[in-house]
């Protein structure tokens, strides 16, 4: 089992002919994801060529609009690789047609997100991102840009606000022989569609997930709320890490959301929340391996 995506995922790629979209579509197809459609307005009727895990050519049909693509192919998930000024519209379009939308685009204005967020909720859709690496359920499907070969099937759920840091930790877990049910990058922006709690709840409900690794960052209070959720609603063990312990206040550390405002959003208060709520604290990425291993062996 896994969360959000699996073998039944039928993916439409918005911006399939763009630089990032085309590269990652090939990667996703190669990983075995069922990419059933692409969307690029004006290229409807063309096809996009990729190669299956078995080395066979795959021709993905391209449509002008998401609604056409969904109608023709039964897509149930969309991934968005369009430039920031058009990303909000792409999310609106996707959420109008499919229940799961993954937006990779970095640089979406936060005021756009104040409109996107209620829209997606009203539609009853789930948005992951924006500004995220997407997600992967090893051996089943990947949607986004997480490198497939660093992952392995196994019992750990991974959820993170950042991209390459997630890869680092997943890679270390995999090298140590600890595989994953699903790895979800929720994104580093101040407003995103899916938060830690959504993922923790899904992992708690997933029978195959035995432990969860959570990578937070400075900024906001999502990690504190996640910690309370772990304390109040989770039976499964959780190990957490906070990036940005050395970050100075008032400076945005790359991610639009990674900023310590006044006295709030510091790594120290998040780590304290973890400790108080029974979350194992990894002081450095490498610590995940032993902390997770210990918790898995307790089961």
């Amino acid at each position: 089992m896994s969360i959000f995506i699996d073998n039944t995922t039928r993916l439409v790629v918005q911006g399939i002919t763009g630089r990032d979209g085309s590269f990652h579509t090939r990667q996703m197809v190669e990983y075995g994801t069922q990419v059933v459609a692409g969307v690029t307005p004006g290229k409807g009727g063309q096809t996009f060529e990729a190669v299956s895990p078995e080395g066979k050519p795959v021709a993905v049909p391209i449509f002008n609009t998401v609604s056409e693509a969904v109608k023709a192919t039964g897509a149930n998930t969309s991934v968005i690789y369009v430039p920031p000024p058009y990303a909000a519209d792409a999310i609106f379009e996707a959420a109008s047609s499919v229940p799961l939308v993954v937006c990779i685009t970095e640089g979406v204005p936060v005021l756009d997100m104040t409109r996107v967020y209620p829209f997606v909720k009203e539609r009853g859709a789930r948005l992951i991102g924006p500004n995220c690496p997407g997600l992967i359920s090893p051996g089943r499907a990947k949607v986004g840009i997480i490198p497939g070969r660093i992952c392995a099937e196994g019992p750990v759920g991974v959820v993170s606000r950042s991209g390459t840091l997630t890869y680092e930790i997943v890679y270390q877990l995999t090298r140590a022989g600890i595989g994953q049910t699903s790895c979800v990058g929720i994104g580093g922006d101040p407003i995103n569609g899916t938060n830690f709690i959504d993922c923790l709840a899904a992992f708690e409900a997933d029978p195959d997930t035995k432990a969860v690794a959570l990578m937070g960052e400075i900024g906001g209070t999502d990690e504190q709320e996640a910690a309370e959720f772990v304390r109040d609603h989770m039976k499964k063990p959780v190990v957490g890490f906070i990036a940005g312990q050395t970050a100075p206040p008032g400076r945005r550390m790359g991610h639009a959301g990674a900023i310590i405002s006044g006295s709030s959003g510091t790594a120290a208060e998040k780590i304290e929340a973890f400790e108080q709520c029974g979350i194992g604290v990894a002081k450095r990425p490498l610590d995940f391996v032993e902390l997770i291993r210990a918790r898995l062996s307790m089961n």
Partner: protein, 381 residues
């Protein structure tokens, strides 16, 4: 992106908010001339992108043009929190009956723009929030509907019992909200919002921070940027699509991805070192980016070692290796270099480095430990 007070006021004024006319000057004599023109006491206010100008001595009350010249001369060239004051705003000193605070921020928890208003204005709002939270009223705006007239009026009545003043303040709320949305702000603030003895509601000071993501798509906003008032290395980095923040340590860091960059800094500290910077080369692996990153880092004389930490996902590690080789061929390094590379095309990258007399580790902890050691005066890895 931070705006200067005078820029924020210009935008507010264009949305109908009453705010006193002022002159931005760069020379003491011009300050005196401006004060003469206004014909009464003036304020001389440093235009720098930091808070706490007043406490730092960057805001002065002047009774005469001569005093304005004198104070302007003192403030111009002054350094406030590392930034040199190059402009001052000369504005007539206002006669103030009361001071209030009105601000809007995008609140990540409510996922909406949120108004904060308080009748206790003129001072640091975070202090009010900490000591007398009941004096602040918060109001989240549903952007689908905008700020409704009744909501603005509720906020107005929170500030003033007098209906005329409450209505004037409600109008300011609407105008500030319009300015906030139109300018793509993450923060807009009037502090203080004052009532003049004549009963007018006026914005005496204004602050705006524009969402960098908005700036990227709107050249009209980019034109408001004052690169003069930012760290030159950070400006340089931004112009080359790098995210760079200078810190006080001695281990220069070059990393791909913000989360990994922060974690790398943290690990430097964990092993007893101090990071000299945050530097994210991003997801694309153009060798040119690596060249620029090295150039920017090496201008910092505190840097005693340079650490690369690259996890190749989208980023191709061979591109990074080529960038390193190109850069040090053009400008040989004067400090030791420690490289950690893993992921996409890792073997090719290692080969490129070895052929050019460089070595690399695939292990993050090992590399960080080595960098900390050499920066502290140990031997290069």
């Amino acid at each position: 992106m931070n705006l200067h007070e005078y820029q924020a006021k210009d935008i507010m004024r264009s949305h109908g908010i009453a705010t006193p006319a002022g002159d931005v000057v760069t020379m003491p004599e011009a300050a005196a001339e401006s004060a003469r023109k206004f014909g009464g006491p003036v304020m001389v206010k440093a235009q720098v992108h930091v808070g706490g100008r007043g406490k730092a001595g960057g805001v002065k009350f002047c009774k005469t043009p001569d005093e304005a010249r004198e104070k302007a001369a003192a403030i111009l060239g002054m350094t406030i929190k590392g930034l040199t004051v190059k402009k001052v705003l000369i504005a007539p000193a206002a006669d103030i009956a009361s001071e209030a605070y009105v601000g809007i921020i995008v609140d990540r928890e409510r996922k909406k723009p949120v108004f904060m208003v308080s009748a206790a204005g003129g001072i640091d709002i975070e202090e009010v929030a900490a000591t007398t939270p009941e004096k602040i009223r918060y109001h989240a705006v549903d952007v689908r509907y905008g700020l409704m007239p009744f909501e603005a009026l509720e906020l107005g009545f929170f500030l003033y019992t007098d209906a005329k003043l409450a209505r004037s303040a409600a109008k300011v709320m609407q105008q500030l909200y319009a300015a906030f949305m139109a300018t793509g702000c993450s923060l807009a603030e009037i502090n203080p919002l004052v009532v003049t003895p004549a009963g007018e509601v006026v914005a005496l000071d204004g602050k705006m921070v524009i969402d960098d993501n908005e700036v990227d798509r709107r050249p009209d906003l980019e034109a408001l940027r004052d690169a003069d008032n930012e760290d030159p290395a950070e400006v340089d980095a931004r112009e080359h699509n790098l995210t760079f923040i200078k810190l006080d340590g001695n281990v220069g860091c070059v990393v791909n991805g913000a989360g990994l960059a922060m974690a790398t800094m943290d690990l430097v500290k964990y092993y007893g070192g101090e990071p000299a910077n945050f530097l994210d080369i991003g997801g694309s692996s153009n060798p040119e980016k690596v060249v620029n990153a090295l150039r920017i880092i090496t201008t910092d004389k505190n840097v005693k070692a340079i650490l690369f930490n690259i996890f190749g996902g989208i980023t191709r590690t061979d591109d990074v290796a080529n960038g390193i080789v190109t850069a040090i061929k053009a400008n040989p390094l004067t400090v030791p270099l420690v490289i950690r590379l893993t992921g996409t095309n890792e073997e090719l990258a290692m080969k490129i480095l070895t052929e050019n007399g460089l070595t690399a580790s695939a292990d993050m902890d090992e590399a960080v430990k080595a960098a900390v050691k050499v920066a502290a005066g140990g031997v290069a890895a």
